[in-house]
């Protein structure tokens, strides 16, 4: 194929432009990283851009000594283990029956509507909150895990994948005397491991990033998941809820680099697992919901 001169210029400018935009996408993270490793005076006097000034790790030393941060990390891990496990179990057990043809499973459409109506209508946050309060789940890890256990979105992804599995496999298994449970666990599941991995990645990220339920359903700061903790420690600092030690630490560090260290630490797991994450995410998008 011939490449004219004007085309070469276009390619060149285009690549430069997109590289600059890519830098803009990274810039806030780079900035916060630089701030977290800088001395506070250098930050407040506006000397830090993308490289630390007066390099110090004091902010991280303080962070390591912060008990609430570790509690919060532990809560997040607990939440992910319980929540994602439950998500996957529920998704598999719902997607399989709903992937059946309505001629074979007459109530299929009725059940499908039952599972998808919550996608388009919700009672809103307040009845939901009152219900969880009346169920006495406040301050319990289950409040962060049970309400979102069944996700229509994950079900759609897996359901579409199940439908792509040739029906002959199942028919043959039925003739050999297999029941639905065995077909699901011995034929469908082994075949759909990539789809399930994708859903697991979606679910891990959703649990890691959610914070609002933690804020309203946990009344004790030591029960906060990590992002909820960050929300209260960095964004809406509620001085009444801080321990004396916390207030001293904030005063000592004057904020900026300590805040930056917390924010960066909070995003580190996502950044580290990112190369792996994004591959599965994109697969998920082309796998299930959006196929046009």
């Amino acid at each position: 194929m011939r490449d004219t001169k004007s085309e070469r210029i276009f390619h060149f400018i285009n690549t430069i432009f997109l590289t600059i935009v890519a830098f803009i996408c990274l810039a806030p993270m780079l900035y916060i990283l630089a701030v977290s490793f800088s001395a506070n005076e250098a930050v407040t006097s506006g000397q830090v851009t993308f490289w630390p000034k007066e390099f110090t790790t004091i902010a991280y030393t303080y962070l390591m000594a912060n008990k609430l941060f570790w509690y919060a990390l532990l809560n997040s891990i607990k939440r992910i283990v319980l929540g994602v496990g439950l998500n996957i179990l529920c998704t598999i057990l719902v997607a399989y029956p709903l992937s059946k043809d309505s001629r074979k499973f007459k109530m299929r459409n009725l059940w499908a509507w039952f599972f998808f109506i919550p996608m388009i209508f919700s009672g809103g946050i307040i009845p939901w909150f009152i219900l969880i309060k009346e169920l006495k789940l406040i301050n319990s890890i289950w409040a962060l895990v049970l309400p979102g256990a069944v996700s229509p979105f994950y079900i759609v992804v897996l359901l579409n994948f199940f439908r792509g599995i040739p029906a002959e496999l199942e028919e043959a298994a039925i003739i050999d005397g297999c029941g639905y449970w065995r077909i699901l666990f011995q034929i469908y599941l082994p075949l759909s491991l990539p789809a399930i991995a994708t859903i697991a990645v979606f679910a891990i990220l959703a649990h890691w990033n959610s914070w609002f339920d933690g804020l309203i359903l946990m009344s004790e700061p030591k029960n906060y998941p990590l992002i909820t903790y960050l929300q209260t420690a960095v964004i809406n600092i509620n001085y009444e809820r801080l321990t004396e030690e916390e207030i001293r630490r904030l005063a000592l560090l004057g904020g900026s680099s300590y805040k930056a260290a917390q924010l960066f630490a909070g995003s580190l797991p996502v950044i580290l697992s990112y190369p792996f994450l994004q591959r599965y995410f994109i697969k998920g998008l082309t796998l299930g919901s959006i196929k046009g």
Partner: protein
């Protein structure tokens, strides 16, 4: 008929058993709150319980919120902010998908793409913490730049003139890369022989984009815009809540943040639920319409 159903039930008992636990969970945590919207028509007192003997007040709560100036502000802000986000969220990803597709070196293309998606995966809590710092009028990096150009610093997060645009721009910044995935997939499904034919006819890059790439993406662009219709009353709670402050309620308060403040902070459960029901009602209508349109014109089905 009844016999048929019983037969179906017997034959499919394992399937029903599989559905049961999830159905119970969904019933408790989604359907009961749906019934719980009755408290929008009551003078709700928590100690009497969610379905307890509450006093019914008819449409009083709705009459009250419709007269509330904060509600009008929040409704208007929500529509304004989310329309801008929807339009930007369509145009910007299409633009970048086309440009990305033109990068000749696939290795470079993949790296840039990967960097573009990154912000999508980070929580708004973290990003808001960063933006508060970056946009600060005293030491923020953006205002330092503005000052070196010789202008007055701008209080982006505290000025009603700027705040909505900060919301729109940071939202586009976070999500555009992720939005390009769908459009890139649409571009790669365009028949390459069309481009070859155009080149034989002497069409340049711009003409190829204009007459082949864009029309090829058109169906998916329409589909995405129809589907985004349903989110017009969702201005992104996570983002607004973590960036706003009382100074910018006038321009930045949205329905979800108002529900939070009235319903959960002031514990005015009935009023909060009434606003929530107003929002869910309209959203339901919009989402149902958009799914119907998407099904009708693009043959799009969720399940």
């Amino acid at each position: 008929m009844l016999q048929d159903l019983i037969q179906d039930f017997k034959k499919n008992k394992p399937l029903l058993l599989m559905l049961l636990p999830s159905a119970v969970l969904l019933f408790i945590f989604s359907y009961i709150p749906m019934v719980g919207i009755i408290i929008a028509f009551q003078k709700f007192i928590p100690v009497k319980g969610l379905f307890g003997p509450q006093q019914w007040v008819g449409l009083d709560n709705f009459r009250y919120i419709l007269m509330l100036p904060e509600f009008k502000d929040a409704l208007w802000n929500t529509i304004r902010i989310s329309s801008m986000k929807i339009i930007g969220g369509l145009v910007v990803p299409v633009f970048f998908a086309i440009l990305l597709n033109e990068i000749p070196i696939s290795f470079l293309k993949r790296i840039i793409q990967t960097v573009f998606y990154l912000p999508h995966f980070l929580s708004w809590v973290i990003l808001a913490g960063i933006f508060v710092d970056i946009l600060s009028p005293s030491q923020g990096i953006v205002n330092r730049f503005i000052r070196t150009l010789g202008f007055q610093p701008i209080f982006f997060l505290g000025d009603n003139k700027w705040f909505p645009y900060v919301l729109v721009i940071t939202d586009i910044w976070k999500e555009f890369g992720f939005g390009t995935i769908v459009y890139l997939a649409a571009i790669t499904s365009i028949d390459p022989s069309l481009y070859e034919a155009a080149m034989v006819d002497g069409a340049n890059k711009w003409q190829q984009i204009r007459h082949i790439t864009l029309p090829g993406m058109f169906p998916i662009i329409i589909l995405m815009s129809v589907l985004s219709l349903g989110s017009i009353l969702n201005a992104n709670f996570d983002q607004v809540f973590n960036l706003y402050s009382p100074q910018v309620y006038k321009s930045g308060d949205v329905l979800d943040t108002l529900i939070y403040r009235i319903g959960l902070i002031d514990a005015n459960y009935s009023l909060g639920t009434a606003i929530g029901l107003f929002k869910s009602g309209i959203s339901f209508f919009l989402i149902a319409t958009s799914y119907y349109l998407a099904y009708k014109f693009a043959d799009y089905r969720i399940f």
